[in-house]
Symmetry: C2
Subunit: 337 residues, 2 copies
């Protein structure tokens, strides 16, 4: 466990907006490269996948890959960083479109989802298309080890998604099971986005491990915050309705924390058992979460994961890219949308 007082007092290395600004140019190239990857000769598949691309998003995975590449001494605006980052975003998009089919999601970032606009069959096919295009690019620019690692990550994500489906409405699940799902669904991929920059740059195992540790911590923290924003964020800013996860039976850290408390837990459990999921009893549920201080508990834990990730950066050569990664780590667990 990290020393909290020490962490709190640690200065913020860089304004995160400067971290994003730092990679604005290579990121514009990544955006164009993703567009070119999607435009592979089939008009409709291009239209449907580009719809998803233009729905926006933070481009977190390519951003972390570009900064990691720069931290390893590679050119973030050149090859192989740009096509790698673009392929990583395509894989992320593939999982998004399949997740939306699975969850029956109507909107993503305020725009209709692919399967809502064109049907579930299109969602399934567009996801397969995106996987295929991404792996074609990876096979062009990377070696076997990278392809093996990426296949393993897609496997982890499928495992995590499956575990989530099987955990729906299950009030007996533990926080440990939740953390394992977050690791599989999100953190393993983000860790790989960082580590692959070291693999591509031939930076050696120590740097690979350091970037993997960084990405794992940031990825865990990022997803925990993403999950708690389900309760706290302005639905307009997030582009989806409040407590949507809970309404669909997905139990996340604030809920599991409240359930684990000796006093509140049993009462909260009865409330959830009596709740018609998906209905308006959400208000009293949110009151229970407030009583449990569950939001702050989750933010704190997310920050600890991010701090754990930041520790990995010590093994990287100092410089502006490392500083940018450092700044992003905290910014990602302090965001409010």
């Amino acid at each position: 466990m990290l020393d909290e007082a020490r962490l709190r007092d640690r200065p913020r290395a860089l304004d995160p907006s400067r971290a994003w600004a730092r990679i604005a140019d290579p990121m514009a190239k990544v955006e164009r490269t993703v567009d070119a990857i999607l435009d592979a000769g089939d008009e409709f598949l291009y239209e449907a996948s580009a719809h998803l691309l233009r729905s926006g998003g933070k481009r977190l995975r390519p951003a972390l890959h570009l900064l990691s590449a720069e931290a390893c001494g590679a050119d973030p605006a050149g090859e192989p960083a740009v096509p790698m980052a673009a392929a990583l975003e395509c894989i992320h998009m593939a999982t998004l479109v399949h997740d939306d089919v699975i969850d029956g999601a109507e909107e993503r970032r305020g725009r209709p989802t692919v399967h809502r606009k064109w049907g579930a069959h299109t969602g399934v096919i567009v996801g397969d298309y995106l996987f295929a295009r991404a792996f074609a690019i990876l096979a062009d620019v990377a070696g076997r080890r990278v392809l093996r690692l990426m296949s393993a990550v897609v496997f982890e994500m499928a495992q995590g998604e499956m575990a989530e489906q099987r955990s729906l409405y299950d009030l007996d699940q533990t926080k440990e099971q939740y953390f394992e799902r977050v690791r599989q669904k999100t953190a393993a991929f983000i860790a790989e986005c960082c580590r692959l920059a070291a693999v591509m740059a031939g930076a050696g195992r120590a740097v690979e491990d350091a970037l993997w540790r960084y990405g794992m911590g940031v990825g865990m923290g990022y997803q925990i915050v993403d999950d708690l924003l389900d309760f706290t964020a302005d639905p307009q800013a997030l582009g989806k309705p409040v407590a949507k996860d809970l309404r669909s039976g997905v139990l996340t850290l604030p809920v599991l924390h409240a359930l684990s408390l000796p006093e509140l837990g049993p009462r909260f459990r009865r409330l959830l058992e009596e709740t018609a999921w998906g209905q308006a009893e959400m208000e009293s549920i949110v009151e229970c979460l407030a009583e449990a201080d569950a939001i702050r508990f989750s933010y704190d834990l997310a920050r600890r994961y991010a701090e754990e990730g930041r520790e990995g950066l010590a093994a990287l050569p100092p410089g502006p890219a490392r500083d940018a990664l450092d700044a992003l780590a905290l910014a990602l667990v302090e965001r409010e949308f």
Copy 2:
């Protein structure tokens, strides 16, 4: 166009059951290897994907890969033929499970489909899982070019599936559009299963091209017959209801042929326009197909594709593996289930 009289008189090189018997041992290894690929540490994903594996199937794609490998002088029971064949079957399984989700199919080979048994979300995830496992094996045993070719095939299959979805109930589509869909959905993959054996064996471009041509012809013929069995096969033997494709709006060669006839076409078109798709008017539709001699027309065309594929075999060294491929080509377009 091939000389039909010549083709009819050409002797059958080998009893097809001897072709299958020839690869019984390596195929048993492939079966065990697929099982091991699926068993990657997640109990549920193993159960669901193994359910699909144990639903049977002809294992056509690995069989063609093994025989092609042997025809190139490689050991069909050794590496890399066995793991390659296993990975190819996994990719085929991935497309099957996603296709079943897309079509809402209830049964496959007489057993409940994955998505019927465990829900559509499981079907989507299991397909992604199978793709990921297959590409992990390919990255282990093959080089970049193979991964690139396989990604391209998955892209083709997504294109074909999308084209099929967009062609549903469309009475204005042409036979050419149907052939293009068959090429994308089935023949491109089967052609690659054959060609990759030459790529792995380093047999050179001439042999690669010959096996690709063989697989393309066989794949076209195989799928055309598969489609017409929808009208002719015993539902018990096929494990799915009769005219299921047509009931779901999928127009295949017999229907498109009948529609294209100058006399029958307009009458058949009116019948289809007035039909409540999915209902029992199938009897008069099947009568029209008989009047158009559409089943025999389709069988003949399938056989021509297979013959076209057999021509490719001339570029391979003579021997029992080539004879087996030759025998399979015709057997696959003459099967009745």
